[in-house]
């Protein structure tokens, strides 16, 4: 019961975005994909989410060949960098979306959906904002709506692309602690992309440090910090030295 990424390769046009990435994390882990821009971390996240397909390699999750599962059936909660909230829907309808597009047989009834939405709003501490539109929300609020929308489908895996990138430092710190606590409570395997090492080390159980489509180091934050494996990791962790 784990997430196994095995020799994944992907070209975007002529650019080798991923050049054989491998690592294994246990179910329920909180994993950071850390690296500079162009390191392939977002591409890898999109492959896990089913929005891109690798040229080569394998991904197994909970003993399933993950790559053969269609996006719609993966049940991944994907939080996009700019949240990608549906701008013409209220917050409540955004959160309800994943439930309301289910096939008729599996779709909860209207009252049940409303109840679930209310639960999720409470979970992300936005009880009063169900009737707002995305344009009326602050960055931090949008972030939490995007998360609630992703959680509504009871995801098997949570994927977050630069989840705090667009937020100011204070909100970022608050949300970070809150997200970590929530993830521990729900126990969902979570992978998030960041270029911010402090954020990766503060949040993650495991860090995948990437550069130019390759894994430079994989381990717990303590291991990576204590014993940088390559000159790149050394330089990345301590840019002041060079």
């Amino acid at each position: 019961m784990s997430l196994v990424v095995d020799s994944v390769r992907k070209r975007l046009g002529t650019y080798p975005a991923l050049q054989g990435v491998s690592f294994t994390v246990p179910q329920g882990a909180f994993v950071a994909l850390l690296g500079p821009s162009g390191s392939g971390k977002t591409t890898l996240l999109r492959i896990l989410g089913g929005l891109e397909y690798p040229d080569d390699g394998a991904v197994r999750f909970a003993d399933i060949n993950w790559l053969t599962v269609p996006v719609r059936e993966r049940r991944v909660g994907f939080v996009f960098q700019n949240y990608a909230l549906f701008r013409h829907m209220t917050v409540a309808r955004n959160i309800a979306f994943g439930l309301s597009v289910r096939p008729r047989k599996e779709r909860p009834n209207r009252a049940e959906i409303a109840r679930r939405v209310q639960e999720l709003l409470a979970l992300v501490q936005l009880d009063e904002l169900g009737d707002r539109y995305p344009s009326q929300l602050s960055g931090g609020q949008s972030q939490r709506v995007a998360l609630a929308r992703a959680l509504a489908i009871e995801p098997r895996m949570l994927l977050l692309d630069e989840p705090f990138g667009a937020l100011d430092a204070k909100v970022r710190k608050e949300l970070r602690g809150w997200l970590r606590a929530l993830q521990e409570r729900l126990g969902i395997t979570t992978v998030f992309v960041t270029h911010d090492q402090e954020e990766a080390f503060a949040l993650a159980d495991l860090v995948v440090l990437m550069d130019k489509g390759k894994v430079e180091q994989f381990g717990t934050p303590a291991e990576v910090r204590r014993a940088p494996k390559t000159p790149f990791v050394q330089a990345f962790l301590d840019p002041m030295v060079n």
Binding site: G49, G50, L51, V71, R72, E73, R74, R75, V76, G77, F78, F80, N82, A84, L85, F86, R87, H88, F97, G98, V101, R102, R149, A150, A152, I153
Partner: protein
């Protein structure tokens, strides 16, 4: 705020007055005056005469033909336009730039040339002419050719309106929708369409105006049979050539009125979704 001193960015009063006068004169002479003349000529023999001219058998037939053609062309071009814009902006595929160029083709090809190609293909001496005649199918000088020619010239409007809008909106919302379990179909109906609806309506209005007003391409393929294959613009030309000025201008007024209604609707839409217009570049 009541200072009478000119602001640093202002030109001298005389220059400003001249520029405003030139602009007003230009608009007056080239835009307003022709419209006024059309309506004035139409009503020169009184309202009853103009109304009577519109009620003539051939005029009614022309109006009906124009409406039928538009009713066929508009839904088709909306479907084509949305499909083309959706394909170009939400997917990557080989030949995409060729498709984008093709979408612009009706804008760059003269309508008369477009009409001639249909005549060349479907005419009696054309490629398909003999075969069509054998099977008793009439395309040229009949409704099918008029519809085809109109389809061609008004094809680009919806797609051209939607492509910049949809390109600007990106794919993130669609990706969010499918990752939440939505099918392609419900992603389109629930996410894409609501986001483009105002732009789409705007494109439909432009397409409609062009479809009703097209002269060149339709002129080549229609055969100019009064009461049968003359659309409104063709009928106006025919009446004008016969020195039936009141009738010609009465029908022209009706077409001009359509343009004015379209313009009013367009302004209403622009006012209604001013924010979106500000976000996306627009002509």
């Amino acid at each position: 705020m009541t200072s009478i001193a000119p602001r640093a960015t202002d030109d001298p009063p005389l220059v400003r007055a001249c520029l405003i006068a030139v602009a007003a004169l230009f608009i007056g002479v080239f835009l307003v005056l022709p419209l006024v003349v059309v309506f004035h000529e139409a009503l020169s023999a009184g309202f009853a005469a103009a109304w009577g001219a519109i009620g003539e058998h051939d005029a009614i037939a022309a109006i009906r033909l124009t409406l039928i053609v538009t009713a066929i062309v508009l839904p088709l071009n909306v479907a084509f336009g949305v499909a083309a814009a959706w394909a170009v902006t939400k997917f990557d595929f080989a030949g995409k730039s060729i498709l984008t160029t093709l979408i612009d083709l009706p804008f760059s090809v003269s309508p008369v040339v477009a009409g001639l190609t249909y005549a060349l293909i479907f005419g009696l001496q054309g490629w398909l002419g003999p075969w069509l005649r054998e099977h008793g199918i009439q395309i040229l000088f009949a409704l099918p050719a008029i519809v085809l020619a109109t389809l061609f010239v008004s094809f680009s409007f919806v797609a051209r309106e939607l492509i910049p809008l949809m390109a600007d909106q990106g794919r993130a919302e669609e990706e969010a929708a499918i990752s939440l379990g939505a099918s392609g179909w419900s992603t389109f109906w629930r996410v894409t369409l609501p986001n483009i609806k105002w732009g789409l309506l705007y494109g439909v209005l432009l397409c409609n105006a062009r479809a009703m007003g097209e002269f060149g391409a339709v002129s080549v393929v229609s055969g100019h049979i009064r009461g049968r294959t003359n659309t409104m613009p063709l009928q106006i030309q025919a009446l004008y050539d016969d020195y039936q000025y009141v009738s010609a201008f009465a029908l022209a007024s009706l077409l001009a009125m359509l343009a004015l209604v379209t313009l009013a609707l367009k302004s209403l839409l622009e006012w209604r979704y001013a924010d979106e217009i500000a976000a996306v570049h627009r002509h």
